[in-house]
Amino acid sequence: MSKCCHSVDLDIPPESKKIVLAGNPNSGKSVLFNALTGMYVDVSNYPGTTLEISYGKYSDDTVIIDTPGVYGISSFNDEERIARDIILDADIVINIVNALHLERDLFLTQQIIDTGLPVVVALNMMDEAERQGLKIDVELLSSMLGVKVIPTVAVEKKGLEELKNNIFNATPGKPTPGIEEKIKEMELQTASRGETLLILEGDPIVAQRNQVPPGDMQEEIYLKRRQRVNAIVDKVVKFTKEKSDFKERLSSLMIRPLTGIPIFLLAMWIMYEVIGVFIAQTVVEITEETIMQGYYEPFITGLLSKWITVDSATWHILAGEFGLFTMPVIYLLGLLMPLVVGFYLLLSIFEDSGYLPRVAVLADRVLTNIGLNGRAVIPIILGFGCVTMATIVTRILGSDRERRIAIFLLGLTIPCSAQLGVIAGMLAGLGPQYVILYVIIIFSILASVGTLLNAALPGKSTDLFIDVPPLRLPRVDNVLKKTATKSLHFLVEAAPLFALGALIISVSQVTGFLVLIQDLIKPITVGWLGLPKEAATALIMGIVRRDFGAAGLMSLPLNKIQTLVALVTITLFVPCIASIMMLFKERSNKEGLIMWLSSLVIAFLVGGIVSKLSKLANEYLPIYYPIAAFFIALILFSWAISYFKNKLDQYKENLEGVGK
């Protein structure tokens, strides 16, 4: 069974041997992990897929641990810190190396060898290396590194048997010349050899753990190691041919704004057509109306009516409008599940193709305005799948400041797949103007809140510095497997919460509490937002999960503008229970609470503004204009503030400069 923990304390029996899969991002660790354990963890074509640590049994007394990919062991960001501790704690390291760029990948290999751990190298992606015309002298590589090197093609299970046969032949390799002496000089009793190395390399956390000051030899050791690696690569890699093929041409089309933006819009349009139009309307009509309402509902109410008196309190709780066996089941299976499956299918294709890092490059310029860099598109796009997952993915960001901004914007503005499906379906019914209006409003909130946060938070964000993996044709089996695992995960996570939500609502309905609340918050729902008072029910459902809330809106009789107001409010509404729990875990209770409350305030504020602005409309002024104008002005306003803040900072800096 896979267990996921996000701290490094894994629940592994202390006597069992730990085999750790380590390697650069996107080198194929997870594919190999799946092949060795028979489990499934996510595989995608972008650096940073694995962030939670998965482990599985290899034999009775050995476990295999999959780690986040890193370019070296140190503590440049949260994911590196996690990988570092797991690698240092390993009994055997299987180092997965991407044969396509040995120069980059062998740096980590050499660093792991320098820690003195027993290593076997899996030289992966041999198929792609061959296609590129690369010849690698495996024997020589093995003897220069001093460890076994097994060529593999992980996705085709090539070389897997040989790797398995050699795991226990792992040996410590030949360290970088000159390092041995330095480690001996340190002579730390408390620290292991690996820890001593990292202390020398100036890792502040490992140093603190051993109560010694961090060393200052990082650059020196790194350069020595780099020299050593370059020398190995020079001897081992025979021939590289530089050719520009179709994939490269496509890649640059995706990156250049002139062609990249249209390609991105095309991709979004395809998603909208597939999810918002085809699935949300055609498919859901079959699953929700024909199957669930046509067959399931009469069946289950018929069954229950044998034991329970129709219209009694128990009946309402179990089979009524919000009954435990009716509403959550119908919403979950009939409405949301098809949307979620469709969404994950498309997302998996994007993930596998290597398109996401290219969007990261394309979007970098825009994201720097809100204190993020291009890398943040990965959590943001994954947020459209599930905000809870995306919250974890923000670990790939380079600073705490960026994580804070990204997590807040994710919770506030990004609708998750199921919710997005419902929203797209409802918007498509209103016509294209409303779709555009909705996009403008949500984008405006994203941009202005992000800009203001960036101006307000202290410190500086990091710059984009990523490698761009080659484009690949998505592998059908992986796409299907990933879609299935993620959809199942959605079902498992959502079902109990839906049941809980339904129970809360039907019990409050039976006890009259629901009407009480509806009347209580009437000033907000009816007075401020201009919605019917029953909208309160959807909002309560939205506290449990936003997709649940969005689904709750579908049964309300709303006119066009009310629908827009309701959808905007539910999009910006508080993050669901699961993601708030994740927030508490990843950040702090205080930060989580602040984010929750601000989402609530912003959601009502914006919803109300849209509602009030629509009142300005008359026969000469179509309602789109005042709303669009207001939200575009909001972006400009936030830019102006941030601009003046920057100028002020520069001015202060200059003053200080003069003072000195």
Binding site: Y222, T240, V361, N373
Partner: protein
Amino acid sequence: MTLDKAKRGQILKILNIPDAKIKAQAIRFGISEGEMVVCSEVIPLGPIIIRKNNQEIALGRNLAKQITVISN
């Protein structure tokens, strides 16, 4: 010149990376001081992409401004 001024297709030698943390990361990528790279893409106002053998690395414009290079 600095890397942000590079043009597509230019062959560059990295001369200086001032920030220690960035320098360490660059050494890992194999693009440390003294290495030769090709500028493979320049996004107007956006990132610069450099290529070294089979790998492409994207650097944000602000970062590129800090890196000194010389073109051959």
